[in-house]
Protein backbone atom coordinates (compact mmCIF):
# COMPACT_ATOMS: atom_id res chain seq x y z
CA UNK A 1 0.00 0.00 0.00
CA UNK A 2 2.70 2.43 1.02
CA UNK A 3 4.80 1.23 -1.88
CA UNK A 4 1.92 1.85 -4.29
CA UNK A 5 1.50 5.34 -2.88
CA UNK A 6 5.21 6.07 -3.34
CA UNK A 7 5.02 4.68 -6.87
CA UNK A 8 2.06 6.82 -7.87
CA UNK A 9 3.52 9.94 -6.28
CA UNK A 10 6.82 9.37 -8.11
CA UNK A 11 4.98 8.71 -11.36
CA UNK A 12 2.96 11.92 -10.92
CA UNK A 13 6.10 14.00 -10.31
CA UNK A 14 8.08 12.38 -13.11
CA UNK A 15 5.40 12.74 -15.77
CA UNK A 16 4.31 16.26 -14.78
CA UNK A 17 7.87 17.48 -14.97
CA UNK A 18 8.46 15.90 -18.36
CA UNK A 19 5.17 17.19 -19.79
CA UNK A 20 5.79 20.72 -18.54
CA UNK A 21 9.42 20.71 -19.81
CA UNK A 22 8.83 18.87 -23.06
CA UNK A 23 11.47 20.76 -24.99
CA UNK A 24 14.31 20.08 -22.60
CA UNK A 25 13.54 16.40 -22.19
CA UNK A 26 12.95 15.94 -25.91
CA UNK A 27 16.38 17.38 -26.57
CA UNK A 28 17.96 14.66 -24.43
CA UNK A 29 15.77 12.08 -26.10
CA UNK A 30 17.06 13.29 -29.46
CA UNK A 31 20.66 12.96 -28.32
CA UNK A 32 19.84 9.42 -27.22
CA UNK A 33 18.13 8.87 -30.57
CA UNK A 34 21.32 9.85 -32.41
CA UNK A 35 23.40 7.57 -30.21
CA UNK A 36 20.87 4.82 -30.90
CA UNK A 37 21.20 5.40 -34.63
CA UNK A 38 24.97 5.15 -34.39
CA UNK A 39 24.96 2.09 -32.15
CA UNK A 40 22.39 0.27 -34.27
CA UNK A 41 24.37 0.99 -37.42
CA UNK A 42 27.55 -0.32 -35.87
CA UNK A 43 25.65 -3.38 -34.66
CA UNK A 44 24.16 -3.88 -38.13
CA UNK A 45 27.57 -3.50 -39.69
CA UNK A 46 29.04 -6.03 -37.27
CA UNK A 47 26.23 -8.44 -37.97
CA UNK A 48 26.43 -7.81 -41.71
CA UNK A 49 30.18 -8.29 -41.86
CA UNK A 50 29.95 -11.38 -39.71
CA UNK A 51 27.18 -12.76 -41.91
CA UNK A 52 29.18 -12.08 -45.03
CA UNK A 53 31.97 -14.11 -43.58
CA UNK A 54 30.35 -16.93 -41.75
CA UNK A 55 26.77 -17.22 -42.98
CA UNK A 56 27.39 -20.49 -44.85
CA UNK A 57 29.43 -22.10 -42.06
CA UNK A 58 27.09 -20.91 -39.31
CA UNK A 59 24.02 -22.37 -40.98
CA UNK A 60 25.55 -25.77 -41.69
CA UNK A 61 23.39 -28.66 -40.57
CA UNK A 62 26.33 -30.15 -38.69
CA UNK A 63 28.00 -30.08 -35.30
CA UNK A 64 31.62 -30.87 -36.13
CA UNK A 65 34.00 -29.93 -38.90
CA UNK A 66 36.85 -32.17 -39.99
CA UNK A 67 40.06 -30.48 -41.19
CA UNK A 68 43.36 -31.75 -42.44
CA UNK A 69 45.78 -32.31 -39.59
CA UNK A 70 47.85 -29.22 -38.68
CA UNK A 71 45.77 -26.97 -40.91
CA UNK A 72 45.00 -24.79 -37.85
CA UNK A 73 41.27 -24.99 -38.63
CA UNK A 74 41.81 -22.89 -41.74
CA UNK A 75 39.35 -23.99 -44.43
CA UNK A 76 41.46 -22.80 -47.34
CA UNK A 77 44.64 -24.53 -46.21
CA UNK A 78 42.88 -27.78 -45.39
CA UNK A 79 42.65 -30.40 -48.16
CA UNK A 80 41.45 -33.87 -47.30
CA UNK A 81 42.05 -37.21 -48.89
CA UNK A 82 39.07 -38.65 -50.77
CA UNK A 83 38.73 -41.72 -48.58
CA UNK A 84 38.61 -39.63 -45.41
CA UNK A 85 34.90 -39.09 -45.99
CA UNK A 86 34.21 -42.85 -45.87
CA UNK A 87 36.30 -43.26 -42.75
CA UNK A 88 34.42 -40.44 -41.02
CA UNK A 89 31.03 -41.92 -41.89
CA UNK A 90 32.02 -45.24 -40.31
CA UNK A 91 32.71 -43.69 -36.89
CA UNK A 92 30.07 -44.53 -34.30
CA UNK A 93 27.83 -41.57 -33.41
CA UNK A 94 28.16 -39.93 -36.83
CA UNK A 95 24.73 -39.68 -38.44
CA UNK A 96 25.98 -38.24 -41.72
CA UNK A 97 28.99 -36.46 -43.16
CA UNK A 98 29.29 -34.34 -46.26
CA UNK A 99 32.43 -33.08 -48.01
CA UNK A 100 32.68 -29.37 -48.73
CA UNK A 101 34.82 -27.95 -51.51
CA UNK A 102 35.55 -24.23 -51.56
CA UNK A 103 36.81 -21.90 -54.23
CA UNK A 104 36.09 -18.50 -55.75
CA UNK A 105 34.95 -17.67 -59.22
CA UNK A 106 33.15 -15.07 -61.29
CA UNK A 107 29.85 -14.97 -63.16
CA UNK A 108 30.58 -13.11 -66.39
CA UNK A 109 27.23 -13.48 -68.18
CA UNK A 110 26.15 -10.19 -66.60
CA UNK A 111 26.63 -6.52 -67.41
CA UNK A 112 28.84 -6.27 -64.39
CA UNK A 113 30.77 -9.51 -63.56
CA UNK A 114 29.87 -10.83 -60.10
CA UNK A 115 32.53 -12.35 -57.90
CA UNK A 116 31.21 -15.40 -56.09
CA UNK A 117 32.18 -18.20 -53.78
CA UNK A 118 31.94 -21.42 -55.72
CA UNK A 119 31.23 -24.25 -53.31
CA UNK A 120 30.63 -27.88 -53.96
CA UNK A 121 28.72 -30.30 -51.79
CA UNK A 122 26.89 -33.56 -52.22
CA UNK A 123 23.11 -33.28 -52.60
CA UNK A 124 21.17 -34.07 -49.38
CA UNK A 125 24.33 -34.33 -47.33
CA UNK A 126 25.53 -31.89 -44.65
CA UNK A 127 27.11 -29.01 -46.52
CA UNK A 128 24.25 -28.59 -48.95
CA UNK A 129 21.79 -25.99 -47.64
CA UNK A 130 18.01 -26.61 -47.91
CA UNK A 131 16.39 -25.51 -51.18
CA UNK A 132 13.74 -22.84 -51.22
CA UNK A 133 13.04 -23.12 -54.94
CA UNK A 134 13.72 -25.55 -57.80
CA UNK A 135 15.64 -28.81 -57.34
CA UNK A 136 19.11 -29.85 -56.43
CA UNK A 137 21.69 -30.68 -59.12
CA UNK A 138 22.24 -34.15 -60.42
CA UNK A 139 25.45 -35.95 -59.43
CA UNK A 140 28.49 -36.59 -61.59
CA UNK A 141 29.84 -33.68 -63.58
CA UNK A 142 26.43 -32.18 -64.40
CA UNK A 143 26.60 -28.58 -65.64
CA UNK A 144 24.07 -27.49 -63.12
CA UNK A 145 24.22 -25.02 -60.27
CA UNK A 146 22.18 -23.96 -57.25
CA UNK A 147 22.50 -20.25 -56.46
CA UNK A 148 21.92 -18.49 -53.14
CA UNK A 149 19.61 -15.53 -52.59
CA UNK A 150 22.63 -13.23 -52.47
CA UNK A 151 23.45 -14.03 -56.09
CA UNK A 152 19.79 -13.77 -57.09
CA UNK A 153 19.39 -10.41 -55.34
CA UNK A 154 22.50 -8.84 -56.85
CA UNK A 155 22.36 -10.22 -60.35
CA UNK A 156 18.70 -10.88 -61.05
CA UNK A 157 19.55 -14.44 -62.09
CA UNK A 158 16.56 -16.79 -61.73
CA UNK A 159 16.05 -20.54 -61.60
CA UNK A 160 16.10 -21.78 -65.21
CA UNK A 161 18.66 -19.22 -66.41
CA UNK A 162 22.00 -20.17 -67.85
CA UNK A 163 25.10 -18.53 -66.43
CA UNK A 164 28.65 -18.29 -67.67
CA UNK A 165 31.57 -18.74 -65.28
CA UNK A 166 35.09 -17.56 -65.90
CA UNK A 167 37.95 -19.32 -64.21
CA UNK A 168 41.68 -19.01 -64.55
CA UNK A 169 43.31 -22.39 -65.01
CA UNK A 170 47.03 -22.43 -65.56
CA UNK A 171 47.60 -19.34 -67.63
CA UNK A 172 44.35 -19.50 -69.57
CA UNK A 173 40.93 -18.07 -68.86
CA UNK A 174 38.41 -20.88 -69.22
CA UNK A 175 34.66 -20.38 -69.60
CA UNK A 176 31.96 -22.75 -68.41
CA UNK A 177 28.20 -22.74 -68.81
CA UNK A 178 25.91 -23.82 -66.00
CA UNK A 179 22.15 -24.13 -65.79
CA UNK A 180 20.61 -22.75 -62.63
CA UNK A 181 18.31 -25.43 -61.24
CA UNK A 182 17.69 -24.34 -57.67
CA UNK A 183 17.77 -21.54 -55.13
CA UNK A 184 18.85 -21.60 -51.49
CA UNK A 185 18.71 -18.91 -48.77
CA UNK A 186 21.58 -16.47 -48.26
CA UNK A 187 24.75 -18.52 -47.86
CA UNK A 188 27.43 -15.86 -48.09
CA UNK A 189 30.98 -17.14 -47.60
CA UNK A 190 34.10 -15.01 -47.55
CA UNK A 191 32.02 -11.85 -48.24
CA UNK A 192 30.75 -13.22 -51.50
CA UNK A 193 27.42 -14.68 -52.51
CA UNK A 194 27.56 -18.33 -53.31
CA UNK A 195 26.77 -20.87 -56.00
CA UNK A 196 26.76 -24.61 -55.36
CA UNK A 197 27.88 -27.14 -57.96
CA UNK A 198 28.47 -30.91 -57.95
CA UNK A 199 32.01 -31.88 -56.74
CA UNK A 200 33.11 -33.25 -60.13
CA UNK A 201 31.96 -30.08 -61.89
CA UNK A 202 33.72 -28.03 -59.24
CA UNK A 203 36.98 -29.87 -59.90
CA UNK A 204 36.72 -29.07 -63.60
CA UNK A 205 35.84 -25.44 -63.10
CA UNK A 206 37.82 -24.26 -60.12
CA UNK A 207 40.76 -21.92 -60.73
CA UNK A 208 43.90 -24.00 -60.41
CA UNK A 209 47.51 -24.09 -61.53
CA UNK A 210 48.36 -26.01 -64.68
CA UNK A 211 50.01 -28.78 -62.65
CA UNK A 212 46.73 -29.64 -60.97
CA UNK A 213 44.81 -30.00 -64.19
CA UNK A 214 45.96 -33.54 -64.79
CA UNK A 215 44.35 -34.85 -61.63
CA UNK A 216 40.56 -34.87 -61.95
CA UNK A 217 39.81 -36.11 -58.45
CA UNK A 218 38.10 -33.49 -56.31
CA UNK A 219 39.61 -33.19 -52.83
CA UNK A 220 37.32 -31.69 -50.19
CA UNK A 221 38.60 -28.86 -48.01
CA UNK A 222 36.57 -29.93 -45.01
CA UNK A 223 33.91 -32.40 -43.99
CA UNK A 224 30.75 -31.34 -42.17
CA UNK A 225 29.74 -33.97 -39.62
CA UNK A 226 26.21 -34.35 -38.33
CA UNK A 227 25.91 -36.29 -35.10
CA UNK A 228 23.28 -38.85 -34.14
CA UNK A 229 23.13 -37.18 -30.74
CA UNK A 230 24.40 -33.57 -30.58
CA UNK A 231 25.01 -33.98 -26.83
CA UNK A 232 27.83 -36.43 -27.60
CA UNK A 233 29.88 -33.79 -29.39
CA UNK A 234 33.02 -34.24 -27.24
CA UNK A 235 32.85 -38.00 -27.34
CA UNK A 236 32.47 -38.25 -31.13
CA UNK A 237 35.17 -35.62 -31.65
CA UNK A 238 37.49 -37.79 -29.59
CA UNK A 239 36.55 -40.92 -31.56
CA UNK A 240 37.07 -39.20 -34.91
CA UNK A 241 40.53 -38.07 -33.94
CA UNK A 242 41.48 -41.56 -32.79
CA UNK A 243 39.90 -43.58 -35.58
CA UNK A 244 40.56 -41.41 -38.63
CA UNK A 245 44.12 -40.56 -39.55
CA UNK A 246 45.52 -37.19 -40.65
CA UNK A 247 42.65 -35.05 -39.43
CA UNK A 248 41.81 -32.50 -36.76
CA UNK A 249 38.25 -31.88 -35.63
CA UNK A 250 36.51 -28.88 -34.12
CA UNK A 251 33.06 -27.38 -33.65
CA UNK A 252 31.29 -24.78 -35.79
CA UNK A 253 32.10 -21.91 -33.38
CA UNK A 254 35.87 -22.47 -33.61
CA UNK A 255 35.65 -22.90 -37.35
CA UNK A 256 33.97 -19.50 -37.67
CA UNK A 257 36.49 -17.80 -35.40
CA UNK A 258 39.30 -19.18 -37.54
CA UNK A 259 37.96 -17.79 -40.80
CA UNK A 260 40.77 -15.39 -41.80
CA UNK A 261 40.16 -11.89 -40.39
CA UNK A 262 36.85 -12.82 -38.78
CA UNK A 263 37.89 -12.40 -35.13
CA UNK A 264 39.97 -9.28 -35.75
CA UNK A 265 37.18 -7.61 -37.67
CA UNK A 266 34.52 -8.53 -35.14
CA UNK A 267 36.52 -7.31 -32.16
CA UNK A 268 37.08 -3.98 -33.94
CA UNK A 269 33.38 -3.50 -34.59
CA UNK A 270 32.47 -4.59 -31.08
CA UNK A 271 34.94 -2.16 -29.54
CA UNK A 272 33.40 0.66 -31.57
CA UNK A 273 29.94 -0.33 -30.37
CA UNK A 274 31.05 -0.52 -26.76
CA UNK A 275 32.69 2.91 -26.92
CA UNK A 276 29.60 4.46 -28.45
CA UNK A 277 27.53 3.03 -25.61
CA UNK A 278 30.06 4.38 -23.13
CA UNK A 279 29.74 7.85 -24.66
CA UNK A 280 25.97 7.47 -24.37
CA UNK A 281 26.29 6.69 -20.67
CA UNK A 282 28.48 9.76 -20.14
CA UNK A 283 26.14 12.07 -22.08
CA UNK A 284 23.04 10.93 -20.21
CA UNK A 285 24.89 10.91 -16.91
CA UNK A 286 26.13 14.45 -17.53
CA UNK A 287 22.72 15.78 -18.46
CA UNK A 288 20.88 14.36 -15.49
CA UNK A 289 23.64 15.34 -13.11
CA UNK A 290 23.49 18.97 -14.26
CA UNK A 291 19.73 18.87 -14.03
CA UNK A 292 19.81 17.56 -10.49
CA UNK A 293 22.35 20.19 -9.46
CA UNK A 294 19.97 22.87 -10.75
CA UNK A 295 17.09 21.32 -8.86
CA UNK A 296 18.69 21.12 -5.41
CA UNK A 297 16.39 23.74 -3.78
CA UNK A 298 13.34 22.27 -5.46
CA UNK A 299 14.17 18.77 -4.26
CA UNK A 300 14.84 20.25 -0.82
CA UNK A 301 11.33 21.74 -0.77
CA UNK A 302 9.80 18.46 -1.96
CA UNK A 303 11.47 16.65 0.91
CA UNK A 304 10.81 19.35 3.51
CA UNK A 305 7.08 19.28 2.87
CA UNK A 306 7.11 15.54 3.36
CA UNK A 307 8.05 13.64 0.18
CA UNK A 308 9.99 10.50 0.99
CA UNK A 309 13.46 9.82 -0.40
CA UNK A 310 11.96 6.83 -2.14
CA UNK A 311 9.47 8.94 -4.07
CA UNK A 312 12.11 11.49 -5.12
CA UNK A 313 14.56 8.77 -6.21
CA UNK A 314 11.92 6.74 -8.01
CA UNK A 315 10.69 9.84 -9.86
CA UNK A 316 14.25 10.42 -11.11
CA UNK A 317 14.54 6.79 -12.22
CA UNK A 318 11.21 6.97 -14.04
CA UNK A 319 12.19 10.14 -15.86
CA UNK A 320 15.42 8.60 -17.06
CA UNK A 321 13.62 5.48 -18.23
CA UNK A 322 10.95 7.48 -20.09
CA UNK A 323 13.49 9.79 -21.73
CA UNK A 324 15.73 6.88 -22.73
CA UNK A 325 12.84 4.80 -24.05
CA UNK A 326 11.55 7.69 -26.18
CA UNK A 327 15.07 8.33 -27.49
CA UNK A 328 15.65 4.69 -28.36
CA UNK A 329 12.23 4.51 -30.05
CA UNK A 330 12.98 7.58 -32.17
CA UNK A 331 16.48 6.27 -32.97
CA UNK A 332 15.08 2.84 -33.82
CA UNK A 333 12.54 4.42 -36.17
CA UNK A 334 15.24 6.52 -37.83
CA UNK A 335 17.45 3.46 -38.23
CA UNK A 336 14.57 1.56 -39.81
CA UNK A 337 13.93 4.39 -42.29
CA UNK A 338 17.62 4.56 -43.20
CA UNK A 339 17.88 0.79 -43.54
CA UNK A 340 15.21 0.83 -46.25
CA UNK A 341 17.48 2.89 -48.47
CA UNK A 342 20.58 0.71 -48.38
CA UNK A 343 21.51 -1.53 -51.34
CA UNK A 344 22.08 -5.24 -50.61
CA UNK A 345 25.77 -4.91 -51.46
CA UNK A 346 26.48 -3.04 -48.20
CA UNK A 347 26.99 -5.55 -45.42
CA UNK A 348 24.36 -4.27 -42.99
CA UNK A 349 22.08 -6.66 -41.16
CA UNK A 350 19.47 -4.91 -39.03
CA UNK A 351 17.36 -7.85 -37.96
CA UNK A 352 20.13 -9.89 -36.34
CA UNK A 353 20.45 -10.75 -32.66
CA UNK A 354 23.06 -8.02 -32.29
CA UNK A 355 20.55 -5.27 -33.03
CA UNK A 356 18.31 -6.64 -30.30
CA UNK A 357 21.27 -6.75 -27.93
CA UNK A 358 22.13 -3.16 -28.87
CA UNK A 359 18.57 -2.00 -28.11
CA UNK A 360 18.70 -3.66 -24.70
CA UNK A 361 22.10 -2.09 -24.01
CA UNK A 362 20.78 1.30 -25.13
CA UNK A 363 17.82 1.04 -22.77
CA UNK A 364 20.23 0.26 -19.94
CA UNK A 365 22.62 3.15 -20.54
CA UNK A 366 20.01 5.66 -19.29
CA UNK A 367 19.61 4.23 -15.81
CA UNK A 368 23.33 3.45 -15.74
CA UNK A 369 24.32 6.99 -16.69
CA UNK A 370 21.73 8.52 -14.39
CA UNK A 371 22.80 6.45 -11.40
CA UNK A 372 25.05 9.12 -9.94
CA UNK A 373 22.39 11.81 -10.27
CA UNK A 374 19.76 9.57 -8.68
CA UNK A 375 21.98 8.86 -5.70
CA UNK A 376 22.72 12.58 -5.49
CA UNK A 377 19.00 13.45 -5.57
CA UNK A 378 18.22 10.97 -2.83
CA UNK A 379 20.98 12.41 -0.64
CA UNK A 380 19.88 16.06 -0.88
CA UNK A 381 18.94 17.28 2.58
CA UNK A 382 15.50 18.83 3.04
CA UNK A 383 17.31 21.59 4.94
CA UNK A 384 18.35 22.96 1.51
CA UNK A 385 14.83 24.35 1.30
CA UNK A 386 15.67 26.75 4.12
CA UNK A 387 18.89 28.04 2.63
CA UNK A 388 20.64 26.68 5.67
CA UNK A 389 23.37 24.11 5.86
Amino acid sequence: MRLMKTFFLAFYLAIKEIVRNKGRFLLVSLVIALITLLVLFIAALGEGLADGNRQYVASLDAELIVFLEKSDYSISSSRLDTNTIRAVRRVEGVADAGPIYTSTSEIVSLEEPLKISMLAAEPDRPGMPPLIEGRTFRGGAASEAVIDEGVALRSGIKVGDEIEIRSTQGTEDEFFYLKVVGLVGKQSYFFQPTIFVPPATWEQMRPQPAADLRDTTPYPNIIAVKLADPAQIELVKERLQVQVSNIEVTDIETTINNIPGYSAQQSTVQTQGAFTLLIGILVIGGFFQIQVLQKVPQIGVLKAIGSSNGAVGLAAVMQIIVVTAIGVAIGGGLTYLFSLGFPPTIPLTFDGPRSLLAVIALLLIGPLGGMVSIIYAVRIEPLKALKLG
Binding site: G300, A304, I305, G306, S307, E381, L386, L388
Partner: protein, 249 residues
Protein backbone atom coordinates in the same frame (compact mmCIF):
# COMPACT_ATOMS: atom_id res chain seq x y z
CA UNK B 1 -6.81 30.03 25.46
CA UNK B 2 -6.72 27.13 22.97
CA UNK B 3 -4.67 23.96 23.37
CA UNK B 4 -0.89 24.04 23.03
CA UNK B 5 0.03 22.99 19.48
CA UNK B 6 3.75 23.47 19.74
CA UNK B 7 5.92 23.23 22.80
CA UNK B 8 9.63 23.98 22.93
CA UNK B 9 11.49 22.96 26.10
CA UNK B 10 15.08 23.99 26.81
CA UNK B 11 16.24 23.45 23.25
CA UNK B 12 19.97 23.75 22.61
CA UNK B 13 21.60 23.31 19.22
CA UNK B 14 25.38 23.18 19.17
CA UNK B 15 27.44 23.48 15.98
CA UNK B 16 31.14 22.79 15.60
CA UNK B 17 33.06 25.76 14.31
CA UNK B 18 35.69 25.37 11.66
CA UNK B 19 39.08 25.47 13.30
CA UNK B 20 37.82 24.03 16.56
CA UNK B 21 35.40 24.96 19.28
CA UNK B 22 31.63 24.94 19.36
CA UNK B 23 28.84 27.49 19.25
CA UNK B 24 25.29 27.29 20.52
CA UNK B 25 23.20 28.51 17.60
CA UNK B 26 20.13 27.98 19.78
CA UNK B 27 20.81 28.33 23.47
CA UNK B 28 18.28 27.00 25.94
CA UNK B 29 15.11 28.28 24.31
CA UNK B 30 11.65 27.45 25.67
CA UNK B 31 8.24 28.65 24.50
CA UNK B 32 4.75 27.48 23.59
CA UNK B 33 2.44 28.34 20.72
CA UNK B 34 -1.29 27.70 21.00
CA UNK B 35 -3.70 26.76 18.26
CA UNK B 36 -5.07 29.89 16.65
CA UNK B 37 -2.05 31.92 17.65
CA UNK B 38 0.28 33.70 15.23
CA UNK B 39 3.80 34.28 16.51
CA UNK B 40 6.71 36.14 14.98
CA UNK B 41 10.27 34.98 15.56
CA UNK B 42 12.52 38.01 15.06
CA UNK B 43 16.16 38.85 15.49
CA UNK B 44 19.19 40.02 13.56
CA UNK B 45 20.93 37.62 11.20
CA UNK B 46 22.94 35.05 13.09
CA UNK B 47 20.58 35.22 16.03
CA UNK B 48 19.57 31.59 15.53
CA UNK B 49 16.03 32.11 14.29
CA UNK B 50 16.43 30.04 11.10
CA UNK B 51 18.12 27.27 13.09
CA UNK B 52 15.20 27.42 15.51
CA UNK B 53 12.73 27.16 12.62
CA UNK B 54 14.62 24.16 11.18
CA UNK B 55 14.31 22.42 14.54
CA UNK B 56 10.59 23.20 14.73
CA UNK B 57 10.23 21.81 11.21
CA UNK B 58 11.87 18.52 12.23
CA UNK B 59 14.57 19.19 9.65
CA UNK B 60 17.26 19.53 12.32
CA UNK B 61 17.61 17.55 15.53
CA UNK B 62 18.35 19.61 18.64
CA UNK B 63 21.47 18.74 20.64
CA UNK B 64 19.33 18.68 23.74
CA UNK B 65 15.85 19.70 24.81
CA UNK B 66 12.45 18.73 23.46
CA UNK B 67 10.07 19.86 20.75
CA UNK B 68 6.49 18.61 20.98
CA UNK B 69 4.06 19.02 18.10
CA UNK B 70 0.50 18.14 19.06
CA UNK B 71 1.98 16.56 22.17
CA UNK B 72 4.30 14.30 20.16
CA UNK B 73 7.99 14.38 21.08
CA UNK B 74 9.93 14.65 17.83
CA UNK B 75 13.15 13.32 19.33
CA UNK B 76 11.42 9.97 19.76
CA UNK B 77 10.60 9.61 16.07
CA UNK B 78 12.77 7.92 13.46
CA UNK B 79 13.48 9.55 10.09
CA UNK B 80 10.51 8.09 8.20
CA UNK B 81 8.13 9.00 11.06
CA UNK B 82 9.53 12.53 10.97
CA UNK B 83 8.86 12.73 7.22
CA UNK B 84 5.29 11.59 7.93
CA UNK B 85 4.92 14.15 10.71
CA UNK B 86 6.16 16.90 8.39
CA UNK B 87 3.59 16.15 5.74
CA UNK B 88 0.69 15.64 8.15
CA UNK B 89 1.18 18.11 10.96
CA UNK B 90 3.31 20.87 9.51
CA UNK B 91 2.68 23.44 6.80
CA UNK B 92 5.59 25.30 5.21
CA UNK B 93 6.38 28.42 3.31
CA UNK B 94 9.95 29.22 2.36
CA UNK B 95 11.84 32.33 1.37
CA UNK B 96 12.36 31.35 -2.23
CA UNK B 97 11.92 28.38 -4.58
CA UNK B 98 8.77 27.74 -2.68
CA UNK B 99 6.71 26.02 -5.29
CA UNK B 100 7.33 23.02 -7.49
CA UNK B 101 8.08 24.79 -10.80
CA UNK B 102 6.38 22.23 -13.04
CA UNK B 103 3.09 22.15 -11.14
CA UNK B 104 0.33 24.74 -11.55
CA UNK B 105 -0.85 26.84 -8.61
CA UNK B 106 -3.67 24.46 -7.86
CA UNK B 107 -1.52 21.36 -8.37
CA UNK B 108 1.05 22.79 -5.97
CA UNK B 109 -1.60 23.22 -3.30
CA UNK B 110 -3.10 19.81 -3.97
CA UNK B 111 0.32 18.22 -3.81
CA UNK B 112 0.10 18.40 0.01
CA UNK B 113 -3.13 16.39 -0.18
CA UNK B 114 -1.54 14.01 -2.66
CA UNK B 115 1.35 13.46 -0.23
CA UNK B 116 -1.17 12.62 2.46
CA UNK B 117 -3.16 10.36 0.18
CA UNK B 118 -6.24 12.56 0.33
CA UNK B 119 -6.29 14.15 -3.11
CA UNK B 120 -9.91 13.84 -4.20
CA UNK B 121 -12.71 15.96 -5.58
CA UNK B 122 -13.44 17.56 -2.20
CA UNK B 123 -9.74 18.41 -1.98
CA UNK B 124 -9.81 20.02 -5.40
CA UNK B 125 -12.76 22.18 -4.38
CA UNK B 126 -11.09 23.14 -1.15
CA UNK B 127 -7.83 24.09 -2.84
CA UNK B 128 -9.70 26.20 -5.40
CA UNK B 129 -11.62 27.92 -2.60
CA UNK B 130 -8.51 28.57 -0.59
CA UNK B 131 -6.72 30.05 -3.60
CA UNK B 132 -9.77 32.19 -4.36
CA UNK B 133 -9.68 33.39 -0.77
CA UNK B 134 -6.07 34.44 -1.40
CA UNK B 135 -7.19 36.33 -4.52
CA UNK B 136 -5.85 33.81 -7.01
CA UNK B 137 -9.04 32.41 -8.53
CA UNK B 138 -7.88 33.36 -12.02
CA UNK B 139 -4.42 31.86 -11.48
CA UNK B 140 -5.30 28.24 -10.69
CA UNK B 141 -3.78 26.89 -13.89
CA UNK B 142 -0.72 29.13 -13.95
CA UNK B 143 2.74 27.73 -13.44
CA UNK B 144 4.90 29.42 -10.77
CA UNK B 145 7.01 31.00 -13.49
CA UNK B 146 3.94 32.79 -14.79
CA UNK B 147 3.13 34.40 -11.43
CA UNK B 148 4.61 37.30 -9.50
CA UNK B 149 6.58 36.79 -6.30
CA UNK B 150 3.59 37.83 -4.19
CA UNK B 151 1.27 35.48 -5.99
CA UNK B 152 3.72 32.62 -5.57
CA UNK B 153 4.00 33.37 -1.86
CA UNK B 154 0.21 33.27 -1.54
CA UNK B 155 0.09 29.91 -3.33
CA UNK B 156 2.68 28.70 -0.83
CA UNK B 157 0.46 29.90 2.01
CA UNK B 158 -2.46 27.94 0.56
CA UNK B 159 -0.23 24.89 0.33
CA UNK B 160 0.85 25.35 3.93
CA UNK B 161 -2.75 25.36 5.14
CA UNK B 162 -4.67 23.00 2.82
CA UNK B 163 -4.00 19.80 4.79
CA UNK B 164 -5.09 21.28 8.15
CA UNK B 165 -1.69 21.05 9.84
CA UNK B 166 -1.30 21.70 13.54
CA UNK B 167 1.63 24.05 12.98
CA UNK B 168 2.35 26.44 10.11
CA UNK B 169 5.94 27.59 9.67
CA UNK B 170 6.86 30.52 7.45
CA UNK B 171 10.47 31.38 6.70
CA UNK B 172 10.77 35.05 5.71
CA UNK B 173 7.55 35.01 3.69
CA UNK B 174 7.99 38.64 2.68
CA UNK B 175 11.67 38.54 1.72
CA UNK B 176 11.05 38.97 -1.98
CA UNK B 177 8.03 41.29 -1.82
CA UNK B 178 7.56 45.05 -1.82
CA UNK B 179 6.05 46.60 1.29
CA UNK B 180 2.51 46.83 -0.01
CA UNK B 181 2.40 43.19 -1.10
CA UNK B 182 4.19 42.09 2.05
CA UNK B 183 1.49 43.64 4.26
CA UNK B 184 -1.26 42.02 2.17
CA UNK B 185 0.32 38.60 2.29
CA UNK B 186 1.00 38.62 6.02
CA UNK B 187 -2.45 39.97 6.81
CA UNK B 188 -4.21 37.21 4.86
CA UNK B 189 -1.88 34.69 6.42
CA UNK B 190 -2.71 35.92 9.92
CA UNK B 191 -6.43 35.87 9.20
CA UNK B 192 -6.35 32.30 7.93
CA UNK B 193 -4.31 31.14 10.91
CA UNK B 194 -6.73 32.75 13.34
CA UNK B 195 -9.83 31.47 11.52
CA UNK B 196 -8.66 27.91 11.14
CA UNK B 197 -7.07 27.62 14.55
CA UNK B 198 -3.54 26.78 13.44
CA UNK B 199 -0.40 27.58 15.36
CA UNK B 200 1.54 29.95 13.10
CA UNK B 201 5.20 30.83 13.45
CA UNK B 202 6.77 33.35 11.10
CA UNK B 203 10.48 34.02 10.99
CA UNK B 204 11.14 37.55 9.79
CA UNK B 205 13.75 40.24 9.97
CA UNK B 206 11.17 42.84 8.97
CA UNK B 207 9.69 44.15 12.21
CA UNK B 208 6.87 45.95 10.38
CA UNK B 209 5.34 42.56 9.66
CA UNK B 210 4.81 42.05 13.39
CA UNK B 211 1.74 44.26 13.07
CA UNK B 212 -0.44 41.20 12.45
CA UNK B 213 0.95 38.78 15.05
CA UNK B 214 -0.19 38.01 18.57
CA UNK B 215 3.22 37.65 20.07
CA UNK B 216 6.80 38.49 19.15
CA UNK B 217 9.67 36.24 20.21
CA UNK B 218 12.95 38.00 19.92
CA UNK B 219 16.20 36.08 19.62
CA UNK B 220 19.77 37.22 19.86
CA UNK B 221 22.94 35.07 19.92
CA UNK B 222 20.81 31.96 20.11
CA UNK B 223 18.92 33.06 23.18
CA UNK B 224 15.30 34.04 23.47
CA UNK B 225 15.86 37.50 24.91
CA UNK B 226 12.40 39.01 24.88
CA UNK B 227 8.75 38.01 24.51
CA UNK B 228 6.36 40.83 23.62
CA UNK B 229 2.68 39.93 23.91
CA UNK B 230 1.22 43.33 24.73
CA UNK B 231 -0.85 44.63 21.80
CA UNK B 232 0.38 48.18 22.28
CA UNK B 233 4.04 47.20 22.52
CA UNK B 234 3.76 45.10 19.36
CA UNK B 235 2.24 48.03 17.52
CA UNK B 236 5.00 50.33 18.63
CA UNK B 237 7.57 47.75 17.55
CA UNK B 238 5.92 47.29 14.16
CA UNK B 239 5.85 51.02 13.53
CA UNK B 240 9.55 51.06 14.07
CA UNK B 241 9.31 53.72 16.73
CA UNK B 242 11.49 51.74 19.04
CA UNK B 243 14.54 49.86 17.90
CA UNK B 244 14.52 46.19 18.84
CA UNK B 245 17.66 46.61 20.84
CA UNK B 246 15.97 49.21 23.02
CA UNK B 247 13.10 46.91 23.81
CA UNK B 248 15.47 44.13 24.56
CA UNK B 249 17.13 46.06 27.32
Amino acid sequence: MNAVALEVRNVIKTFNIEGGGTINAVDDVSFEVHSGEFVALVGPSGSGKTTMLSILAALLTPTSGQVLIDGQDMAKLNESKRVKLRRQKIGFTFQANNLIPFLTAQENVEFMLRLNGSANKAGRMRSAELLARLGLSDRLRNLPGQMSGGQQQRVAIARALIHNPAVVLADEPTASLDTERAYQVVETFANLIHENGRAGIMVTHDLRMCKYVDRVLQMRDGKLVQVIDDKYDIEVLAKGELPVAAIAQ
